[in-house]
Structure formats: structure tokens, C-alpha cells
Amino acid sequence: MPDAARLTRLVPYAVVAAGAAYLYSVAANIRYAARAGVLGPDFWPKAILALTLVVCAYKIVATLVPRRRGEEAGVLEDLIEESAAHRGGPAAAPAAESHLWLLLGGIALSAGYVWALPKLGFFTATVPYLAAFIALGGYRRWGVVAALSVLGTLLLLFFFMKVVYVSLPLGQEPFLQVTLLLMQLMGIR
């Protein structure tokens, strides 16, 4: 395996190990009134973090030191590979084309929606979010997108506030007035 590829493979384990080491130091400083002969509240998380560090260290060493034997896969993975090899079936789908900008767009859109939700209220935030997500996913019949976004949001608003009694975010002024008007029209108190 080329050095660059090997180093790339190390990244997730190095990140997890660094996180585990930091959290271990946090766990070591958990404050509590110790009782004689009883394990403290730090024991369990510290044990988990120590095990995480051990496994990460193993993976880092195993990646750095080239060896002949393959990876210890789970039993299901073995079964899938064996069965696929015998039957010639598509156990593993062919590598799909990657659209990183779509993913980043989806994450940014979702994060923006969560940020806007308490400010704009459920209806005002959800209609553009649904429309944008559908468009981002590649569906561009704008009339259908608009109808699905507005009607879908109204339906969800009605179901969760009127039927399931979940208090969805109302938003701040002036968007609060929009939500209150819709609630009034739908008979939601």
C-alpha cells in the first residue's frame, strides 16, 4: 500500500484516539465524594476510553506495519463475501459516484434549518427547507416542489400540534404571527 494511502487510513483512528485521550483526561477530573470500597463514577467511562485507545493503537500499528494477513472481519461480512463469491451476486454494490458538494450542501442546509427553527417557527422555516432539500436532491419540477413543501409542512404542523400535542417551535416576531394565524385557521389551541 502506498504511504499516502496508508496515512489516509490512519486518520480516523488518530482522530478517535485523540478524542479518547482528551475525554480520558476529562473523566479523570470528574468531581465526586469518594466512598471507601466503591468504584467511582469515573471508572466505567475511563475503562471504555482505555479500551478505545488500545484498539486505536492496535489499528495504527497494524496500518503502519505491513503484514500479509488480512483484516479480521465480522462473521456477517464473511458470509456476504462467501455467498457472493459462490453465487456471483451483487453483495457489494459497485462504487457509486461521489458528490461531496451535495453532501456538504445537505449538512449545511440541515444545520441552517435547526439554527433558524426557533427564530422563524416551524412553518416558516420548514417550507423553504423542504423545497431546498428536494431541489438539492435533484428533483426540479418547481410546481410540485412548492406544493409538496407547503402542503407537507401544513400536514405535519396539523398532525403534531393538533393530534400528537407536540409543541413545535412558534418562532419569534414577526414570524410568530404567521404561526399563530395558521394555528387559528387549523383550530389548534
Partner: protein, 501 residues
């Protein structure tokens, strides 16, 4: 036994009450539709349905979710057989013989075998579930914390051993899940752990948020990165089911028996589920079946084995949930969540305090199995049309259900932020081949694992050997260790086999 039958009969009456029956019918239809759609798994479906059950009573809520779980093991077979598109990972083995039969002009017969297999597997497992639950619940009453810890440890070891491309990755995933479960105020000391002065974190991270994020949002992000490209489908309007003659069904009684038993046992093992059952059953048939040399050429055994086992695993998975309160799979964890949301803790006591609820749920499994087959027989042509729906629209609504599910659990926007974080984590896990199931099961079973471990340590003076010296705990721990060593042994044997060639 007579008492069990009487209670089951009362349970059937309960299932046919208008509200419960409506919940069952809705659960079946939605479960079938979700199983049909590639990218939406049955666990995701059950997760997304949970917030819609908040205002239902516990029996109706669990009936709806269980019906979705049962039917989720069935409809994905249709797309495997008709279009070579497995709706779920469970359905991959159905490609090998099911799709081959369809290509040979026997699609209707293949769908018929799927229906019979789901019916037989489901009913056999449901019968076993009813017969075994009360004796197991009685045994569970005699168990103490070391035994409970050993059982949970076994479940965690199984999920690590069974899933994933790498044992080390599965372990890391599990540890992250267990660590997430430690966030919040500790029960014994009241100490704040990893709360970082965020008030909501003091209440801990709800495992439902972890599940919805990692399974639901994470999967949507993964598919979005691939551009929501689905395989082009042939005409969907010609699908129909033709049942096989009884003589042919009886000729496969050995396959039905083996697969039902395998599915039931795998369902009982915490950590294993319908996917493992389906693959293992196909593999068993390919190794030991009467027509093993013809497997893969489009014979009914190749359909019956995986489908029977997959549906049978549902009845098996309900046993540890109902008798010990231990969810062994993603779907049963959600069902446990529904129980807890309504203030009912499944376990041995529930058979004494709320047996009418238990047996109504048990009866609903029988009705669900029959119901899904009836719907499947008559509505296959209509239901597969859902595949013509654009994935971008379905995914947008899946994301909305994820967000609403996370928000509705505690009415707090911080949970929705956590959902997005776990969605990204779920995507990264998929990207770097870290299995998600151990993470989720770690988050679910973590609190129970810690509390049983700490209680044992307090009760037995920090003597950890108690997990190995008590007979039941020791036996289960030994099984867990075998489960952990199994992948290493398999690899060793594989290497020897390759070397001898």
C-alpha cells in the same frame, strides 16, 4: 399451558378492537412500503414511526411498531426478485435464486414462495415466542445482576462479532456508543460526566436521538452524497403472486423447519437480527440442503431459506425484549423505547402485572404475519409503484420525520442539534467502514451494562471473578468470549484452507 392459551385468546380479542386493529393495519402497510424502498431499512422505518405513537396507548403503539417490524422483513423481497434491487440488506440472498427464477419467467412463482416462507417462518416463530416466553420470564426472575451483565455483555459481543468489515472498527464503534451512554448525571454519585456545562446534557443523550441520527439522517446523507441515483426499473405494473401447490410446499418441509429454527435462535441472540438470519440460513441450505448443488440456479429453496429465517427472527427477537427487557436489535430497541415512553418496563414482572398487554402484543404478531401476506398477495402490483416516487422527495420527508422525532422526545432544540451531529457521525461511520449497529446498541445497552456492573461490584466487594464463577453468568460469559473469538478463528481456518490449496 392452558393459562397461556386463555390469555392468548383474550389477546386476539384485544387485537381486533378497532383502535388496535387500525394501528396494526397502518403498521403493516407502512412497513411494507418502507421495506420496498431501497435506502429505507425496517429499523429506520420503526424509528421514524415512533413519534407518531406518542399519544397512543402502549398496546396500540407497540402493535403498530411490531407490525412494521414484521412486514419490514417481507416486502423488500419483491424488489429483489422483480428488479434485482434489494429493499433491505436482508433481501440480498433473495437475488441469487429469486431474481434468477424471475429471469426464467417464474416471477409470480418466486413471489409465491416468498409469501409462503414469510407466513411459515412468522407463524412458527410466533408460536415459539408464546410457548417460550413465560418459562424464560420465570427463569429471568431468579437471575441476579451478574447474570444480567453477562447477558448484556453477550449481546454486545455478538453485535461486534457479527457485523462490520473489521472487528477493530466494530469495537471502536461499540465503545463510542457505550461512552455516549455515560453522558449525564451518574446515578450512584450524582456526578456530572461529559456534560460540559450544557444543561440538556445533564439529562444524558437520549438513545433515540443517537438511533434516529445515525440510522436515519446518516443514511440520507450517504445516499445524498451518491446523488440519489437509483437503479432504473423495468415496468412495475406486471407484478403478481402465484402460490405454490401444497405438495411442493410439503416437499420443502425440511428447509422450512431448519430455516424457522435458525431464524428463531438468531432472533433470540441479542445483537443478531434478520440480516444475519437470512444470510446464515441461505448458507446452511447451500451447504446441507437436499439440492445444494443447484442453489443459485433459481430453485425455491434459495428463496424459502432466507425469507423464512428473516421473518422467524422477529418472533425470536421479541423474546429477550419481553422476558428480560433486553432489546437485541435496533427495531426491538425502538419498541422498548415505546414501552418506556408509556411508563411500562418490559421484563419478567410484566408477565404478572400486565399480562393482558403482553398477550395482546403476542397475538398481534400472529395477525400481523397473516395480514402482511394477505396484503402482499393482493396489493403487490399497487405497492411496488412506490418505487416510481422520486427519492429526493422521500428523503426530504425522512429527514423531517427524523427532526420531528428528535424534537418531540424532549421538546428541545438541542436534541435536534445532536441529531445533526449523529447524522454526520453516521455518514462518517459508513464512509470509513465503521458499522453503525454496535454504536447504537452500545448507546442503548450502555446504561444497563454500567448499572448491572456497578451493582455487582458493590454487592460482591469489587470481585470481578463473580462473572465467571456463578454458573449461569459464567456460561453466558464463555459464550460471549466465543462470539468475540469467532471472527479470528474463522480467519485462521480460512487462511489454512487457502494455504492447503
Amino acid at each position: 399451558m392452558e393459562g397461556v392459551l386463555t390469555q392468548l385468546a383474550a389477546g386476539f380479542v384485544g387485537v381486533f378492537s378497532p383502535v388496535n386493529f387500525a394501528a396494526l393495519a397502518v403498521g403493516l402497510v407502512i412497513g411494507l412500503l418502507i421495506a420496498l424502498l431501497p435506502g429505507l431499512t425496517l429499523v429506520m422505518g420503526v424509528v421514524l414511526a415512533l413519534p407518531f405513537t406518542y399519544k397512543m396507548d402502549v398496546t396500540s403503539a407497540v402493535i403498530l411498531l411490531t407490525a412494521m417490524y414484521v412486514s419490514g422483513t417481507y416486502a423488500g423481497a419483491w424488489t429483489s426478485i422483480l428488479f434485482r434491487v434489494p429493499g433491505e440488506p436482508i433481501d440480498v440472498p433473495l437475488l441469487w435464486d429469486g431474481y434468477t427464477m424471475a429471469r426464467n419467467g417464474q416471477a409470480a412463482q418466486a413471489l409465491g414462495w416468498t409469501l409462503v416462507a414469510a407466513l411459515v417462518g412468522g407463524l412458527v416463530a410466533a408460536t415459539a415466542m408464546v410457548g417460550l416466553s413465560q418459562p424464560i420470564a420465570k427463569i429471568a426472575l431468579t437471575l441476579s445482576t451478574p447474570e444480567y451483565f453477562a447477558i448484556i455483555f453477550f449481546g454486545l459481543a455478538s453485535v461486534v462479532s457479527l457485523g462490520g468489515a473489521s472487528l477493530a472498527n466494530a469495537l471502536i464503534s461499540l465503545f463510542i456508543g457505550l461512552l455516549l451512554a455515560t453522558v449525564g448525571v451518574d446515578d450512584t454519585y450524582g456526578a456530572h460526566r461529559f456534560t460540559f456545562d450544557v444543561p440538556l446534557l445533564a439529562d444524558g443523550i437520549d438513545y433515540l436521538v443517537v438511533m434516529v441520527g445515525a440510522y436515519g439522517l446518516g443514511e440520507v446523507f450517504t445516499r445524498l452524497e451518491r446523488g440519489f441515483r437509483s437503479a432504473p426499473l423495468e415496468s412495475v405494473g406486471t407484478a403478481r403472486t402465484r402460490l405454490p401447490p401444497l405438495k411442493e410446499v410439503l416437499a420443502l418441509k425440511g428447509t422450512f423447519a431448519r430455516s424457522s429454527l435458525l431464524g428463531l435462535l438468531i432472533g433470540i441472540v441479542p445483537g443478531a437480527g434478520a440480516t444475519v438470519a437470512s444470510f446464515l440460513s441461505y448458507g446452511t441450505e447451500a451447504q446441507y440442503g437436499r439440492r445444494r448443488s443447484q442453489m443459485g440456479e433459481g430453485i425455491p429453496e434459495g428463496i424459502v431459506a432466507p425469507q423464512t429465517a428473516a421473518t422467524a427472527s422477529v418472533g425470536g427477537a421479541m423474546i429477550p425484549l419481553m422476558t428480560m427487557g433486553i432489546p437485541g436489535s435496533g427495531a426491538t430497541a425502538i419498541i422498548l423505547g415505546a414501552f418506556l415512553l408509556h411508563g411500562l418496563q418490559p421484563g419478567p414482572q410484566v408477565f404478572q402485572t400486565s399480562s393482558h398487554i403482553v398477550y395482546t402484543i403476542f397475538a398481534s404478531v400472529f395477525v400481523a404475519v397473516v395480514g402482511m401476506c394477505v396484503i402482499g398477495y393482493f396489493a403487490v402490483r399497487v405497492m411496488v409503484r412506490v418505487l416510481e416516487f422520486p427519492e429526493a422527495i422521500i428523503s426530504a420527508y425522512v429527514v423531517m420525520c427524523c427532526i420531528l422525532g428528535a424534537f418531540a422526545a424532549r421538546n428541545n432544540i438541542t436534541d435536534v442539534w445532536l441529531l445533526v451531529v449523529f447524522g454526520v457521525l453516521g455518514y462518517l461511520a459508513e464512509r470509513f467502514r465503521f458499522p453503525v449497529s454496535p454504536l447504537v446498541l452500545g448507546a442503548i445497552l450502555g446504561p444497563l451494562a454500567e448499572s448491572t456492573f456497578m451493582t455487582t461490584m458493590i454487592s460482591f466487594g469489587n470481585d470481578w471473578t463473580v462473572f465467571f464463577t456463578r454458573p449461569v453468568a459464567g456460561a453466558v460469559m464463555a459464550l460471549a468470549l466465543v462470539a468475540l473469538v469467532l471472527p479470528l478463528l474463522r480467519q485462521l481456518l480460512h487462511r489454512r484452507k487457502m494455504a492447503s490449496r
